[in-house]
Structure formats: structure tokens, C-alpha cells
């Protein structure tokens, strides 16, 4: 057997000699067969060699599970050489999920009590790497004994094993807590390092332990001071700093102990100042210690002067040429920017410099920090820098950068025109990466800025003319052209460079968008609607538009087809209404609740369905429908074509189906939600037994005052995970002196059984004044949502 199987050295040579993956696999398979045979009936003295080979093969990625039992046998052998390989195999091959792992518990126990240091070390190492909860419980007392015996080698290992045990079985912290304080008085650095790790772990797990260890803060300070002031020692010296690892661990523990604890913080203050000023940072080790000191200063209740010093140190770090230090400084400044904003602001120019780095990790950190530093005074400068960055940054950062700029612009925009310019610039540079609501936000913004309509439409038109591939930009531009196309025909006073455009060019551009294969279905919807709107805005011949619209009447895309058909009808049967329907929209309020928009929409849909035959009483609301239709048809998931927004059509179907009769009496108590000058709103609730998530709310408006309530509109909003449908009210007039009340039915779907929250908005005319109230409904009975 020995002759045909290879020594480890030779095996490795053969594997390296293999020219192809297949050859390598062959060699390894052959050898594994030998190893298996050797495990069964080979020479016990050579077993360790076989396992060593197996472990090598395992590292390369080949299966080695048949070696697991062999590890156990080797661990049980008395020879050190066998145990060594056996334990290594156990650490690499065995784990909690295999039942075999419990079998080594006994071997470990024997080895721990033997007294041969290297063997004890091996056992402890294995226990701390793969010890499961049961093993830890069984062996806790053994480990505890080893904590206090004289040899430092075994002690330091026992301490770290204790850390692992505490992590696996938190109850064991009671056993390991008492020895810690005595261990702190040791001189051996390995023991100290382990002890501090153990104390840190215990403090993080229980506040009681934290309080207990706060009394050792003076001792820790003393140890650190000795390290810092000690002269050159060959023992633990790393580039001139005495045991930086231990220093860093102590600083970390001091941080945890000093947080929110005045007394400890005070004890540490002097020492921290000393370390901060005296550490030599020419090499990495010194920087590591200094960095940790800075973090500790910022986290505890330190003196104000010390904090300023700390932030300045971080600023100095930013100026170093060593990129690692800059990275680390940016990370911590990001943590501090919330609490010490003004201090961090002073380093803003340096942070912006880091944006221009070619290093991806560094520029990512710099981006996050820059976005956090934008405020109203520096927004113009910062946005410029960020936009420059956006043009050159790697693609995975683009989305964050774009949305960051847009957010900052929204919060701090100095003027509307600047805001529009910024969004436009972002859309042209990184249009594909912006978030879905950017389109909606921009349209709202433009809609709201009346004086800038001409300017916006000119700029958008020219941007669109250059490039029709960036979908968000195209959508906004087509919407704008549709709305304010008449401004395009005149010169724009704001910027002389943007000349007027011919009608034909505008129509040609919109058609191009409509036909381009780059356009998403949603975009085409925008374009088609824009064309329609232009039919009323432009003076010239609208036959071209009629042609396009009728062509799309037979389009494959259902959404477009529907629109085209409806618009065709507008041209033919309802031509007299066309101008009214396609009027410019009024200023829409920026509603954050999607449900509110949906509520308005179904409200409008209800109106439309009932009044379609006669002249619509509210052309504005149907225009609202159109606008909201656009707004809700967001680019969203650009991969799939957007489904038709269910509310208008679905809402119509539902509304036509459901009776308007009031629901059957509800077992849930009624709720009075609003009262003003005799006008009262009551809510009554029903939960139909067949559908648990459904709740029907009937809003009843009564008027006991002397004057009629007219133009009554009630709208509702619910949290996002609910669905709300509003039925048409019975009317919008509540006659005086308790005339017929207005009733309206709301349907609320609550699939997650989340607590119901409801906001209502009512507008009406009363006593010659127009009243608008928005309020949240409190004290909703629990039965409404459980």
C-alpha cells in the first residue's frame, strides 16, 4: 500500500504537473481511492500522512467527507503528530451539523487535562473554532480550570476559547466573569489581549457586566499608559509602537465602558489626550492607534476641546497620501457627521477632493460623506462638484449619486430655475439610473413654477431633440411639450440661445419618440397624449395629429390602443369638448400618499362614468384623471410593460357593479369624526364575513345648520400597504336643517392586518365660505382591522 500511494510532497508535485483540469481530477480521484483504502486497513503509523493529503485535496475543492471519522481516530491516538493533523482535520471538515462532532468532546476533555501544553493548545484551538453549544457546555469547567494555571501559552488560549463559549452559550458568562479582573493584573501581553477581548464580549452581552467592569477603567488606563510611555522594547514592537494590537483593544474597551458614563470618561480624558498628541503616525501602526483614540474620544463624554482635537486629527488624516488612512478617516467622519456637523463641515473641501480619486472604495465613501455635508449655504458648489463626479463615476455609484443630487436639490434648492436646471442635468447625464419618482417630482415642480414654463419647455425640447434614449428625460420632456407646447412657438426671453421652434418640428419630434424602439411603452403613452394636447395648443393643421392617433388605434399594445381609440372618439364625437378636456391642468398639490392620488382618481373616475353622456361638470377633474394617470404610470420596472393602472378602469367596473345602497347595519360601533358649525361626519364600519381583509366604511354627512352645504367632496388616504376604493357619493349637497344626508362608501383592503390609519379631507361651501379640512381619524375601533 505504501508503495503505490504517494507522499504528500509527491502528490502535490503530481497535481501541479497536471496540465488540464481533467488530468488533475484524475490524479486526485486515484489518490482518494488509495486514501480510502488506507483508512480502512492501512498502517496506523502512516495515517496522518493520508489525512494530510486529504486536507490538501479538500482545500482545492474536492470532496473529503470520508475523512471525518479518520480525524476522530487520529485525535484519539497518543502521538502528537497524529493529534495535530487530526485536530486540523476536525477544524476543516467537521462542524455542528454533523453528528460526529460530538464524539470529539471526550477526546478534547482528555487532552485538556493531560498537561502537555501543545496538546492542550490544539484542543483549545479546535474547541474555539468549531465548538458547538453542547460541547461548550460540557467542557466549560475544564476551560475555566485552565484559565488559572501558570503557563501563559495555555492560559491565553483558554481565555479566547472562553470568548467563543460565551458567544455560543451566553449563560456561561457567569462562569467566566469572575476570573477577568485577576487576569488583568498579568504581565503577559497575550493573556492581556485575550482578557480584554473577553471583557469586551461580556460587556457587549449584558449591561450588568458593563457596570461591573466600569470599575477596572483605572487599571486599563494604567496598562495603556505603561504601553505608551514605555521605551523601545523588542518584544512587541511594531514599527516603533509598543504592541499596537493591545493598545487598540484597550482603547476599544475604554470606548464601550466610557459611553454615557461620566466617571469613566473623566478618568480616561488625560490619557486619551496624551495618546492623541504623542503618537507617531509616520507608520501604519501609529495611525491605527491614533485612529482608535479618535473614535474613542468621539464616543465617550469627553471634553469639548478634546472632541475638536479629534475631528482635526481626522481632517489631517484626510490630507495624508496613504489611501488606507484616508479611507478610514472618511468612514469615521461619516459616523460623526450627524453629531458634530459643523466640525466636519470645515473639512468639506478635502472631502470633495477625495471625490476625484480614481480609487473606487475611496470615492464611494467620499460620495456618501459629501451628500451628508450638503446644506443650504453650499448647495450650489456641492451640486456642481457632484455633477462633475456623476459624469465620470463608475456605474455602480451612479444611482446613488443621482438620487443623492436630486434629494439635495429638493431640500436646498435656492431657486426653482436652478432646481429645474439641476434635475435636467442629472437626467441628461444619468437618466437611466434615477429613481422612479424623479419623473413625477419634476413634472410637479415644473407644473408649479408658472413663470418658468416657457423656459422649461424650451430647455426640455432641446434636450430631447439631442437625445431620445434616456427614458425619464423623454417622459418629462414629452409631458412638458404637451402641456406648454404653445410656448415653444415663441422665443424664450429667459435665454436668448433657445430659439422658437416650428410646429412641424415639434410634431416630428413627438412622432419620432412615438415610433422609436428605444421608447418604453410608458413613454409612448406620454408621447401620444402630448400629441393630443398639442392639437388644441397649436394653431396649424391638426390632420397630422389625427392621422397618428388613428394609426395607433390598431396598435398591438393595449394601453396605447385604448388611448388612441379614446382620443379618436374625442376628435369625432366629442370634438366640441376637446378644448375643454385638453386644457392646461391647474396646479396640483404635491400629495405624498399614493392612495390619496388613487382616491382622487377613482373619485374622478366615478364622476366621469356618471356624467359621460352630459357635458362633464368638472372637466378639471377628468383632466386630473389624465394627469394622475400619467403620474401613476411611472417608469417603475422598466423591464416589463406597465399594466394599465387598475383604478380608473377597474374602478369604473366596480362602481357600475356595486349598488349604492347603504351597507347592512354594522356590529362595529360608529364613529363621529368631524363636526363644524352643524356639519357632522360619521363613519360606520362593516366587515363582510366572507372576505376578512375587507372593510367597508360608510361616511355620512349630516347638516343641521341653517345653510346648505354645497360642492361637498370627501377624499381619503390610507397607509401604503392598504388599498382604498372610493365609491361615488350619493350627492354633493347636504340641504339645511337636517335634509337628506350625503353618504359615501369606502372600501378598504387590509391584507396584512396592519393597524388602520385613515386621513380624511373634506371641502365644501357653507355660509358663503369655502371650507377645507384635513384630519386624521383617531380612536378607530380595533375590530376594523383585526
Amino acid at each position: 500500500m505504501l508503495v503505490s500511494s504517494l507522499k504528500l510532497h509527491d502528490l502535490i508535485e503530481e497535481i501541479r504537473g497536471a496540465k488540464t483540469q481533467a488530468q488533475e481530477r484524475e490524479v486526485i480521484q486515484k489518490e482518494c481511492a488509495h486514501i480510502r483504502a488506507a483508512f480502512r486497513d492501512g498502517d496506523p503509523m502512516q495515517r496522518h500522512r493520508q489525512l494530510a493529503k486529504l486536507l490538501y485535496v479538500h482545500m482545492l475543492g474536492y470532496p473529503a467527507h470520508f475523512g471525518q471519522m479518520e480525524c476522530l481516530k487520529l485525535i484519539a491516538s497518543p502521538r502528537f503528530i497524529d493529534k495535530r493533523v487530526g485536530y486540523l482535520g476536525a477544524m476543516l471538515l467537521l462542524d455542528e451539523r454533523h453528528d460526529a462532532h460530538l464524539l470529539i468532546t471526550n477526546s478534547i476533555k482528555n487532552d485538556l487535562s493531560q498537561g502537555i501544553q501543545p496538546v492542550q493548545g490544539l484542543a483549545l484551538c479546535t474547541l474555539s473554532t468549531m465548538g458547538s453549544a453542547e460541547m461548550c457546555r460540557d467542557l466549560a469547567t475544564e476551560v475555566e480550570k485552565l484559565l488559572l494555571q501558570p503557563g501563559p501559552y495555555v492560559r491565553k488560549k483558554a481565555i479566547l476559547t472562553a470568548v467563543h463559549m460565551v458567544r455560543k452559550v451566553p449563560e456561561l458568562s457567569d462562569i467566566f466573569l469572575p476570573p477577568c479582573v485577576t487576569l488583568l493584573h498579568e504581565r503577559h501581553h497575550g493573556i492581556l489581549l485575550g482578557t480584554i477581548t473577553l471583557i469586551t464580549e461580556l460587556c457587549q452581552r449584558s449591561p450588568a457586566a458593563l457596570r461591573h467592569f466600569q470599575k477596572v477603567v483605572p487599571k486599563l488606563v494604567q496598562i495603556l499608559r505603561t504601553l505608551v510611555t514605555a521605551g523601545y522594547s523588542t518584544e512587541h514592537n511594531i514599527s516603533g509602537v509598543s504592541d499596537p494590537f493591545l493598545q487598540v483593544q484597550i482603547l476599544r474597551l475604554l470606548r464601550i465602558l466610557g459611553r454615557n458614563h461620566e466617571e469613566s470618561s473623566e478618568t480616561m480624558n488625560d490619557l486619551l489626550a496624551q495618546v492623541a498628541t504623542n503618537t507617531d503616525t509616520r507608520r501604519n501602526a501609529g495611525s491605527a492607534v491614533l485612529y482608535e483614540t479618535v473614535l474613542t474620544i468621539m464616543d465617550i463624554r469627553s471634553a469639548a476641546g478634546l472632541r475638536v482635537l479629534a475631528v482635526n486629527i481626522l481632517g489631517r488624516f484626510l490630507l495624508k497620501s496613504d489611501r488606507n488612512i484616508r479611507y478610514v478617516a472618511l468612514t469615521s467622519l461619516l459616523r460623526l457627521v450627524q453629531s458634530d456637523h459643523s466640525a466636519v463641515q470645515r473639512h468639506r473641501p478635502t472631502v470633495v477632493e477625495c471625490l476625484r480619486e480614481t480609487d473606487a472604495s475611496l470615492s464611494r465613501r467620499a460620495l456618501e460623506l459629501s451628500l451628508a455635508l450638503v446644506n443650504s449655504s453650499n448647495v450650489r458648489v456641492m451640486t456642481q462638484e457632484l455633477q462633475a463626479f456623476l459624469e465620470s463615476c463608475p456605474s455602480d455609484l451612479r444611482a446613488d449619486c443621482a438620487s443623492g443630487i436630486l434629494l439635495a436639490a429638493e431640500r436646498f434648492a435656492p431657486t426653482k430655475r436652478w432646481h429645474i436646471d439641476t434635475i435636467l442635468h442629472v437626467l441628461t447625464t444619468a437618466g437611466a439610473y434615477v429613481r422612479d419618482d424623479a419623473v413625477a417630482n419634476l413634472t410637479l415642480l415644473i407644473g408649479g413654477a408658472q413663470e418658468l414654463h416657457a423656459y422649461s419647455v424650451h430647455r426640455l425640447y432641446h434636450a430631447l431633440a439631442e437625445d431620445i434614449s434616456q427614458q425619464p428625460l423623454v417622459q418629462v420632456a414629452t409631458w412638458c411639450i404637451g402641456e406648454y407646447g404653445d410656448f415653444l412657438l415663441e422665443n424664450c426671453e429667459e435665454t436668448e440661445t433657445l430659439q422658437k421652434v416650428e410646429e412641424e418640428e415639434v410634431l416630428a419630434l413627438l412622432e419620432k419618440v412615438l415610433q422609436s424602439h428605444l421608447s418604453l411603452p410608458a413613454t409612448r403613452g406620454y408621447a401620444l397624449t402630448a400629441l393630443m394636447k398639442l392639437s388644441t395648443r397649436l394653431q396649424g393643421d391638426i390632420n397630422r395629429i389625427r392621422q397618428v392617433v388613428s394609426i395607433y388605434g390598431s396598435c398591438v399594445d393595449v394601453e396605447l390602443q385604448q388611448r388612441a381609440v379614446e382620443y379618436n372618439t374625442l376628435f369625432q364625437k366629442y370634438d366640441h369638448m376637446r378644448a375643454a378636456i385638453l386644457e392646461k391642468i391647474p396646479l396640483v398639490e404635491h400629495g405624498n400618499h399614493q392612495a390619496e392620488a388613487a382616491a382622487k382618481e377613482s373619485q374622478a373616475a366615478a364622476q366621469l362614468s356618471e356624467d359621460k353622456a352630459s357635458v362633464p361638470t368638472e372637466p378639471q377633474t377628468s383632466k386630473l384623471l389624465d394627469l394622475l394617470d400619467l403620474l401613476d404610470d411611472t417608469p417603475g420596472d422598466t423591464q416589463q410593460p406597465p399594466t394599465l393602472n387598475p383604478c380608473p378602469v377597474g374602478g369604473l367596473v366596480h362602481l357600475l357593479d356595486l349598488p349604492c345602497a347603504p351597507p347592512p347595519p354594522a356590529p362595529i360601533p360608529n364613529l363621529k369624526v368631524f363636526e363644524r358649525e352643524g356639519v357632522r361626519l360619521n363613519l360606520s364600519f362593516t366587515r363582510p364575513p366572507g372576505t376578512p381583509p375587507l372593510l367597508l366604511i360608510t361616511v355620512t354627512t349630516t347638516n343641521s345648520s341653517e345653510d346648505d352645504v354645497t360642492h361637498f367632496v370627501c377624499q381619503a388616504a390610507v397607509p401604503k400597504n392598504f388599498q382604498l376604493q372610493l365609491q361615488a357619493p350619493s350627492g354633493n349637497t347636504a340641504p339645511a336643517r337636517s335634509g337628506l344626508p350625503i353618504t359615501q362608501l369606502f372600501r378598504v383592503l387590509n391584507p396584512n392586518k396592519a393597524p388602520l390609519r385613515l386621513k380624511l379631507r373634506v371641502t365644501y361651501n357653507h355660509f358663503g365660505q369655502s371650507v377645507q379640512e384635513i384630519f386624521e381619524v383617531h380612536n378607530l375601533p380595533v375590530e376594523t382591522w383585526q
Binding site: H9, I12, R16, A52, L55, Y56, H58, M59, L60, G61, P63, F80, I81, R84, V85, L88, D95, E96, R97, I116, Q117, P118, L124, C125, S128, T129, K156, K157, L160, T161, H164, H189, G190, L193, G194, T197, E235, H236, I238, D243, P244, F245, V248, R252, N284, A285, A288, Y291, E292, R323, N324, I325, R326, Y327, V328, T358, D359, A360, S361, L362
Partner: protein
């Protein structure tokens, strides 16, 4: 805590793979490959920290690596470790390897993978830093190899002694040596010949 320590060469071949958190075998190999690809893309003069890949854990983990000649030493750590400290730790580990192997090179790591594991066990245990003093670690490794040798030596000694004596070519020994008045009787040594 240190999640994993990986050493691989410029072509992605693993030289040392040590995980301190349990992953199934296929995932381990995937992690090695993914880490290699991430690290390979980095220039030599940019920072040594990488936000980790998706496999080895969430956003809390980062990869800290150092490139020595043909080898990448990658430590995957979570936020409880000091990044600059880990850089020093990698340096300590490599220097210790250098001392133990006398001018360590990649071939040493290839052919003595088990020894590298034993050295690593003295530096990092259970994902935590155990000892950073090179001298102590080297002393410990020496003690262990002495222990190993002494064991192997003891069990083989009797066999070696017998074979050694068998090979001695003893000439014929006289039975009686007569020197003047002295008469020395020589014992029978035939059983050793």
C-alpha cells in the same frame, strides 16, 4: 471578528483557506473565487479595503488584503476589527512565516500547507487575534516540532539499534586471551553476530 483568511496566488489558486464561520463546501469555493475576482481588479496603489462580496455576509463585512509578490493575503473581517490593525496583523503573519520557513516563498506554502495552518493557529484562533509576538510564535513552533521528532524518534529507536548492530562486521573473537599470568575468559557474543 475575523470571518475568513484566504491566501491565493495571482491566478486564483488557493494556497491557504481558513474559515472561522461555517459555510458549506461549495459556498467556500465560491467565496474564494469571488474574492479573487474582486481583488484582482484592484490597482496596486489604491487602498487595501474592499467592501465585501455578496456571499460572505452582509454589509458589515469588508475584505482587507495585501499583495506580496505572487500572493494575495485576504482577511475578511466585520466592523469590530480595526482595519489598520488588520493590515499590521497580515504583516505580522507574513513575517512569522518568513522566520519559520527562512525566506518564505510560494512554494513553501504549497508544499507545507499543514505547517502554515499550524502557524496561523498561533496567530489567530477562533476568529480572534491570539498572539502577535513573533518570537513567541516561533518558539512555540520549535517546541512542537521537537515534540514531534522526539515521538517519532523513540518509537523507531529499538529497530534502528538492532539493524545497526547487525551491520557491524565483527571479526572472529578469541575465546581465551592469555597475557602472562592473566587469563580472561571472553563471553560468548555469537548471538549478536
Amino acid at each position: 471578528m475575523i470571518q475568513a483568511i484566504l491566501v491565493f496566488n495571482n491566478h486564483g489558486k488557493p494556497r491557504l483557506v481558513r474559515f472561522y464561520q461555517r459555510f458549506p463546501e461549495e459556498i467556500q469555493q465560491q467565496i474564494v473565487r469571488e474574492t479573487f475576482h474582486l481583488v484582482l481588479k484592484r490597482d496596486d496603489n489604491i487602498c487595501n479595503f474592499l467592501e465585501g462580496g455578496s456571499l460572505i455576509g452582509g454589509s458589515d463585512y469588508k475584505l482587507i488584503y495585501r499583495h506580496y509578490a505572487t500572493l494575495y493575503f485576504v482577511f475578511c473581517v466585520d466592523s469590530s476589527e480595526s482595519e489598520l490593525g488588520i493590515l499590521d496583523l497580515i504583516q505580522v503573519f507574513v513575517e512569522t512565516l518568513d522566520k519559520c520557513f527562512e525566506n518564505v516563498c510560494e512554494l513553501d506554502l504549497i508544499f507545507h500547507m499543514d505547517k502554515v495552518h499550524y502557524i496561523l493557529q498561533e496567530v489567530v484562533m477562533g476568529g480572534m487575534v491570539l498572539e502577535t509576538n513573533m518570537n513567541e510564535i516561533v518558539a512555540q513552533m520549535d517546541a512542537q516540532s521537537r515534540l514531534e521528532k522526539s515521538e517519532g524518534g523513540l518509537s523507531a529507536a529499538p529497530a534502528r539499534a538492532v539493524s545497526a548492530v547487525k551491520n557491524i562486521n565483527l571479526p572472529e573473537i578469541p575465546r581465551n586471551i592469555n597475557i602472562g599470568d592473566l587469563n580472561i575468559k571472553v563471553p560468548n557474543l555469537s548471538q549478536f553476530v
